[in-house]
Amino acid sequence: MSAPTLTPGALARRRRAESWRRGWSEFRTHRSGLVGLGVLVVFVLVALLAPVLADSDGLSVTKATGGVLEAPSAQYWLGTDDNGRSVLTLLIWGSQVSLMVGLLATVISMGIGTLVGLVSGYFGGVLGQVLFRVTEWVLVLPQLVLAIVLASLFDPSLLVISAVIGVTSWPGTALLIRAQTLSVKERAYLERSRVLGAGHLHLLRRHVLPNVVPMVFANTTLTVAIAILNETTLSFLGLGDPTRVSWGSMLEDAFSVGAITTGSWWYLLPPGLCVVGVVLAFTLVGQALESVLDPRLRGRR
């Protein structure tokens, strides 16, 4: 009966690994979450392997080889666009932009949301109240309308569109983090840590943040879904980066060249299906994560 002696660090590591394992086995019971995860892996692989899967020459209007809006054939599996480019090539390269903007916008949104939520929840007082009010004010503004207005003021680029989506979509996250922080703040071990002389930075970093992070994590996947939808809509309205092909810009092009009336379904259907697929996948993963992390939701599905 000799217990192995472990350093506190090894103990913490072991406990963390254990909780990850438990989380994963809980996640595995959510079939929809697993399907979503699988779909995401496929899309990420396609985006990363785009240069291998499709020659980037296929994006050039001048090097286009096909006819105008050609129906799918053995050579062009998904037909061609109005410039004679392969729709499949555009679709593959478009996944890069959609995923990149979605992730970048989410990082910005999460960063602002977490910071505002943590500070307003932890510190309270005048600063906390002011931040809380600002969060509420931004929350009631119609998010995409604000994004459209902001995007119209700058020259379009990937960074601008990501920033615009990020700075308009953080209030929901901030409120969530704030509520979580408020409940963590009152716990006894924080009190004890404070008595032992821990500073604000230490408390925030070592005690509050680790408790809030799981919620941030689940919320992130849902935010990515919304960011990708936003990117698609902004691009459709002509506010995307004009030098890059994204699923939204493909649909804008399809709409403006009249793919609807010519019945060119191969230019209209695939980009939209990709958007639905990715957004749905992120949403499913997010929901599964939420119920893994929030025991109250278990058995809900």
Binding site: V140, L141, I148, L175, R178, T233, L251, I260, V275
Partner: protein, 345 residues
């Protein structure tokens, strides 16, 4: 779902004041909305006049070729004055309903908005009512029989609709039902609010307008209903195991009575607010769907302004839509407070 703002979440952490009445609750809510309005006014000023650096260039992009024109423009809008003075002027004109003059149409923006608000209200109003009714029905029935085939179908469809850009759904509906696929002829018009040759106010004109609105309303209804269905489902699921339902059953009530008179009544509470709180999302839907179906409403006005770009129209529509959202939000909160005394605390 993060598009759904939970009222309970927003008020979490507010200090609990015992014994405060509805009036007090209403006063805080009104004050909050006034704060939002003030914030909106300041934001609008900053967005269009401070942020771009040179407002004359932004507000009249590409329109001014000579220095005289530029000076005349700056003087006309007071842009040559100090910032604070400009802000005061901006506040005065905005509060008087003067939103500037459209660069494209050469008429006051207020007039344009007044002309275009009708179709938007008609489209958005009809879709919201339909979506709420259908969505709530779907939510109730999938929650009551959760895990059933109906539930899985309804939840799956809701999630898919939720993941879909609403305007893409509109494009698909146009292709299938208006243009026609293969041997199937187009049944509905591809766009517009009504035919050009009819008197809008005659009986035939009303029918014609309704005919034109079928597809856009269907698109928006499908886009909105997902939220209502999901919120209704999850709030009813919260009630389903509750003791008072067992009590109700024990008194011999039929299942439908237990559901409609007891469970749904409680679960409706959060859902009613979502109907109104989602108005921001509804505004967005109107913008893109009006563009796709070329319905001459506020949304189309805004997207047309984007390509000019007509900043006066853009800031006007932004101000009006955001004000509407803030107003409806307040109404939703006040109604919620009336229905549920717990949030008044």
């Amino acid at each position: 779902m993060s598009v759904v703002s939970e009222p309970a979440l927003a008020s979490a952490g507010a200090p609990v004041r015992r014994g405060s009445g509805y009036l007090r609750f209403a006063a805080t809510r009104v004050a909050g909305s006034l704060g939002s309005l003030a914030f909106l006014l300041v934001l609008n000023f900053f967005l269009f006049r401070v942020l771009p650096g040179d407002p004359a260039r932004t507000l009249g992009r590409g329109r001014f070729t000579t220095q005289e024109q530029l000076d005349a423009f700056n003087a006309a809008y007071g842009l040559d004055q100090p910032m604070l003075q400009q802000f005061v002027t901006y506040l005065r004109t905005t509060l008087h309903g003067d939103l500037g003059i459209s660069l494209k149409y050469r008429v006051p923006v207020t007039e344009l908005i007044a002309d275009r608000i009708g179709p938007t209200l008609l489209l958005v109003g009809t879709s919201t009512v339909l979506a709420a009714v259908i969505g709530i029905w779907l939510g109730v029935h999938s929650a009551w029989r959760h895990g059933s085939r109906f539930d899985r179908f309804a939840t799956g469809s809701s999630l898919t609709l939720y993941s879909m850009p609403e305007w893409w759904l509109g494009l698909l509906l146009i292709v299938v039902l208006a243009v026609g696929v293969g041997p199937v002829p187009g049944l509905f018009p591809t766009g517009g609010l009504h035919s050009v040759d009819v008197d809008v106010w005659s009986f035939a004109g009303v029918l014609d307008t309704a005919w034109h609105l079928v597809l856009p309303v269907a698109t928006l209804t499908l886009a909105y209903l997902a939220d209502y269905a999901m919120v209704m489902r999850s709030s009813l699921l919260d009630e389903i195991g509750a003791d008072y339902l067992t009590t109700a059953r024990a008194t011999g009530l039929r299942e439908a009575q237990v559901r409609n008179r007891h469970a749904v009544r409680n679960a409706l509470l959060p859902t009613t607010t979502v109907v109104a709180l989602n108005i921001g999302f509804i505004v967005t839907g109107a913008i893109t769907v009006e563009t796709v179906f070329s319905i001459p409403g506020l949304g189309l006005l805004a997207t047309e302004a984007l390509s000019v770009p007509d900043y006066w129209v853009l800031q006007g529509t932004f101000l009006v839509s955001a004000t509407a959202v803030i107003g409806l939000n307040l109404v939703a909160n006040l109604v919620y407070g009336l229905l549920d005394p717990r949030v008044r605390a």
